[in-house]
């Protein structure tokens, strides 16, 4: 049964739509303004020198600076980012999946202790410096593994995965064992296919984490050949800072540098576009993952 809206209610609905459109624009406007800034030519920038929504003569100068030249810095950065995202996600999923699988076994002696081993790092950590000393003395700094090896398991996501696995009925395993399957077959043939939805979701969590990661790649690594795109973007954002100028001179060919603002804008677009391309496809998995995690706590 639906009751006819009163004039007050209609006003409310109208206002609500208008408000939500404004909010949506607030999410999009920074992005649109960056996109248009990235197309401004050096000449137009010098002449107008202020905010431009629609460039008079859009150019790809800034993009040519980023992708052109003989040093191939941005291409190399994409390569590093793809490497860490693919290899990192596969390794993360393997470690997380195995850990979750074992912790999901209700009759395993020592399960509580093992769960505690996973849980404690969620509430207490040694902090940045002891962590740095460990990865440094293990000689992981200045290698590509600094972005992968220390981050194989996110305890929170492991426990979400475990909760999912615990919803798979034990009877399936018992039936397979009756038919003479060994534990490895049970894992690969019974549990692995059934946990695909959860693996996809958690795998996407890890993939986006790796794609977006910058801190350890920038701080625990000084080898410019290992910079992922996020770190290149960070260097360009600090263009006004003299100590980073030299950095950029090494990574690009500085003679033909476009205005700092257009260069920053173009690099933001270069970093964001891959996320925007996959976003429509991965969004629903994230929502699902959040809801599973949120309900089970």
């Amino acid at each position: 049964m639906r009751i006819k809206a009163t004039p007050m209610e209609r006003l409310f609905y109208l206002g609500n739509y208008v408000f939500l459109i404004v909010v949506s624009l607030l999410f999009l406007i920074p992005f649109i303004s960056v996109l248009s800034t990235s197309f401004i030519s050096t000449a137009e920038w010098a002449r107008r020198g202020n905010f431009v929504l629609i460039p008079e003569a859009p150019t790809l100068e800034a993009y040519q600076f980023l992708f052109g030249g003989s040093k191939g810095t941005v291409f190399n950065a994409y390569k590093i980012t793809f490497f860490r995202t693919i290899v990192g996600t596969v390794l993360c999923l393997t470690f997380t999946g195995l850990g979750a699988y074992v912790l999901a076994r209700r009759n395993l002696p020592g399960r509580t202790f093992m769960t505690l081993l996973v849980f404690i790092p969620m509430v207490f950590s040694g902090g940045l410096i002891p962590f740095y000393l460990v990865v440094d003395r293990l000689r992981l700094t200045n290698t590509v593994w600094i972005m992968i090896t220390p981050f194989l398991v996110n305890p929170w996501w492991l426990l979400i995965m475990r909760n999912f696995l615990m919803t798979i009925p034990v009877e399936l395993e018992e039936a397979a064992l009756m038919d003479g399957a060994n534990p490895l077959t049970v894992l690969l043939r019974v549990y692995l296919p059934l946990s695909m939805p959860a693996l996809t979701t958690i795998g996407l969590f890890y993939a986006v984490w790796h794609w977006n990661g910058w801190f350890y790649a920038a701080v625990f690594n000084s080898n410019r050949d290992l910079y992922p795109i996020q770190v290149i973007l960070r260097s360009i954002l600090y263009l006004g800072d003299a100590s980073y100028r030299g950095d950029l001179g090494i990574m690009f060919e500085p003679e033909m540098m476009p205005p700092a603002q257009t260069l920053k804008a173009a690099m933001i677009i270069v970093t964001t576009v891959p996320i925007l391309l996959v976003y429509p496809f991965i969004q629903r998995y994230f929502v699902k993952g959040l809801l599973i995690g949120g309900v089970k706590g």
């Binding site: 849980f119 902090g127 740095y132």
Partner: protein
Amino acid sequence: MTEVLRILRKHGFYYLLFLPVAVYLIIFKYVPMIGIMIAFKDVTPFMSMGEIVTSSFIGFKHFVNFFNSFFFWDLMENTLMISIYKTLWSFPAPILLALLINEVHNTYFKRISQTISYLPHFFSMVIVAGLVYVVFGVQGGLVNHLVVLTGGEPQHYLGDPRWFRTILVGTTVWQTVGWGSILYLAAMAGLNPETYEAANIDGASKIQQVRHITLPGISHVIVILFIFRIGDLLDAGFEQILLLYSPSVYEVADIIDTYVYRAGLLNLKYSFASAVGLYKSILALLLLLAANKFAHFLGHQGIW
């Protein structure tokens, strides 16, 4: 002994599967926890692992130095104030957004506005910082353009202590409000529509329905998320601040985490920085324990 053998024979396969995870956790999570003992030593950058372990303990010197330093209260104030301001704005914002989206009956409009609002959640902090740099740029930035249009003078907002925290809070709301609304919307979707119909018949206004049906219906989500938030109140946003701050705004922007980073990794005062880090870790743990206790007190399951 035979009991151990029996368990191993029966479950050994699973312990073997868990071994890589255990080794990973011990090396990268538990060794650093033990390594926090360097806070009670004088470790220099060129010591080997062995020298670090065997060097002698010096007690609480670094802690005493930190508590007595002139910047101790500044760091505490910045950390707590930034975090509290962020909570004040970014905690209610998703609830409000969810209430408004929940009133949209056009499915397409609803889906599109939700999709747009989630987007910033998928951006790295570097991208978000980049957007801030460009939008607030002194020359050619959108914000200063609008300021000039309305008769103001262009300003370097990011370098201005009066504006820096506002930018931090605004950026956080921008990045988290959409994603934060999901759990509330899911809780609202679970409420019984008949309750609303009955309220309609009784002539309850929209505001009354929100106050007496929707908000009580989602209160358990609000409470649990608020407790989570209190649990990590000391996380004022390390990456965000590190990317956006500069020496001209340290007085309002420098938090415990950024200070540990500079003291430890830039100035190589490993032991002192570890002491500051440990102080924060312990304080954070106590907050979390208190928040969890409070959840139990309210009759919620809590975090564990």
